[in-house]
């Protein structure tokens, strides 16, 4: 057991992961500083309260300042905010003064659920479609696929969601448009598992189509390049079946840049969560972010920003680790 642990600690992968985790620290701190400064550029939250309630007396204001820690100098406020966040305490909401944790934490899982399901489906489908399209470039099948994907990148994500709701929820009445997790108090087909799936279908379709479009464009372009290379010609010349040439030899090289892109696209998907979640009233971080930003609830905004930043960084790390396993040319040092 102990030797196994020691071997793990000495393995290059382990050291690589540790180093990457350490690299994250300055990025997270940098983003936290920017987030904090942005909030203060907006002015002291107490002034906003004052503007809303002109008759408020000074004693109440002072007690509010102490409650939110706003009586301290700004650098000290920042440090205490950061140390609290490290201990997973995101402060107190400006709405009602309750803990931000209570607002944010229940919203994390729905967001992860939606994103991960969509991403896995999108990646699984995009590979065969892109290969199919790249096998005969500029043929009818290829043009169909490329225009389909160009359509996908030209469409406002949220609008595609709106169209799906209009067609499948309002007109046909097949699927729920909102109220995931029984929030609206109704169960689809009277079964909670079916209900969860039914609520996922429309938002996942939206996210899959959008990232599918991007993935296909990328993998197809790579595939076209790889299929022209000499080693593919050699493989074909030695009589290996076309299927094997494409899927065993070419795909592996074409897919590696797409994995990097997967990391980026997961990042943009998580950060783009506000749009989809808003359209489908999905009880996730994105919709909460929109509501909090419109309401200028700064502690909640900063908390969600930090959580989404960390989620994006971790997603990128996972992708980079995957990359090492897919592409043996990548050597970690």
């Amino acid at each position: 057991m102990l030797t196994k642990l020691r071997a793990l600690a000495q393995s290059s992968m382990f050291r690589y992961v540790i180093r990457r985790l350490l690299y994250m620290i300055p990025v997270v701190i940098g983003i936290s500083i920017i987030a904090f400064i942005t909030m203060y550029a907006a002015g002291n939250p107490i002034n906003l309260i004052k503007a809303g309630k002109p008759n408020i007396d000074q004693a109440t204001i002072d007690s509010l300042k102490i409650y939110y820690g706003l009586d301290q100098p700004i650098p000290i406020q920042y440090i205490s905010w950061l140390t609290n966040i490290i201990q997973l305490d995101f402060g107190k909401s400006l709405y009602g003064g309750g803990p931000v944790n209570g607002i944010i934490f229940p919203k994390i899982w729905p967001t992860i659920e939606l994103q991960v399901v969509s991403l896995l489906i999108a990646f699984a489908i995009s590979i065969p479609i892109a290969v199919y399209s790249a096998k005969k470039p500029y043929s009818k099948q290829d043009i169909t696929v490329t225009s389909f994907s160009l359509f996908g990148v030209s469409m406002p994500t949220f609008w595609f969601g709106l169209v799906l709701i209009i067609v499948f929820s309002f007109t046909l009445g097949w699927l729920p448009s909102a109220g995931s997790k029984g929030a609206a108090g109704f169960l689809w087909w009277g079964n909670s598992a079916f209900d969860a799936i039914a609520h996922l279908i429309l938002p996942v379709t939206v996210l899959v189509y959008v990232s599918l479009a991007q993935n296909i464009r990328l993998i197809r372009a790579n595939m076209l390049e790889v299929l022209r290379s000499d080693y593919i010609l050699a493989a074909r010349a030695s009589g290996i079946s076309e299927r094997k040439v494409v899927y065993r030899y070419a795909l592996r090289n074409a897919i590696t840049p797409a994995v990097t892109f997967l990391g980026i696209s997961l990042g943009t998907m998580i950060a783009g969560a506000p749009m989809t979640e808003y359209v489908f009233s999905w009880p996730g971080l994105g919709r909460q972010y929109v509501a909090s930003t419109l309401g200028l609830d700064f502690p909640t905004i900063m908390g969600i920003t930090m959580i989404i930043t960390v989620m994006t960084l971790i997603a990128n790390l996972v992708m980079d680790i995957l990359y090492v396993y897919i592409d043996p040319r990548v050597r970690i040092r």
């Binding site: 160009l150 030209s154 949220f158 709106l162 980026i264 920003t305």
Partner: protein, 317 residues
Amino acid sequence: MTATNTPKQPTKHRAASQWAVAWRRFRKNRAGVFGLIIVLGVVFIGVFGDLLAPYPAFPDPKALQPFYNGDVRSPPSSQYLLGTDAIGTDVLSDLLHGTKYALYVGVVVTVITMAIAILVGSVAGYFGSWTDNILMRITEVFLVFPSLLFILIFVRVFTLGAGVGTTVGIFGIGLPIGLSIVIFVLAIFNWPGSARMIRGEFLRVRELEFVEAEKALGASNRRIIFRHILPNILSSIIVVASLTIAYAILLEAGVSFLGFGDVNTMTWGQVLQNNFSDMRVVWWAELFPGLAILITVFGFNLLGDGLSDALNPRLRD
């Protein structure tokens, strides 16, 4: 009979310029030409939309004529071709007025984005070493940034102080302040991708012989960058600019749709936002603005792809 052996006029063989060649190649690309036609159509509507629209733009009380007629939320008909929306304006008029805003957003965001990207990309790519290192690290931080979140909070905070719905006149054109703030914020968060591309192009071109020759002749760095390298990578910049216009229009629509736009500037995204809660009834007021966005963005994307095929033929077979 006079012998006509006067020597033939030597036909002038001017070498076709790079742009003429590109245009000839572009013309053959049906998708690209289709995109160009869409874009020209959108520009036409952008310029003349105010004259074509049956009703004036929203803050004008006459825009609410359908409301006074009692035609709020009336479906598409011969009187209101695309119906009227939840606040009682004519959707067709909204879309025609909104076209100029979409173009304003696309073009201005792209100009600012490209200006920053060219500056950063050329300095990083040309000088290399530590300059490159520092600038590219900054760019990477921007790329991992959850940019939509920061765009939303920046827009929200900046529009707090600005008078909603007021316009500032520049060259006799009233520019809506709220929308200009959105544009400014979008540009700030949009440049890193383009900067990376321009840096890559600089890395490629700066090793070519003609740059070497210029250097040997003692040309200044600024002259080499702006007179020699930039014109060489102009084609790539044009392609990226065309795609950036498309992306900016999409992003602005999203920001407005989420409720961060200027309520008195009826961009297409704003129309979508205004009718979102009444969507079950006024589905036409959600469908058509989105279609307008889709067609416009599709046009710019097709144009960008067509330009990329025409200007960088080595990318194609």
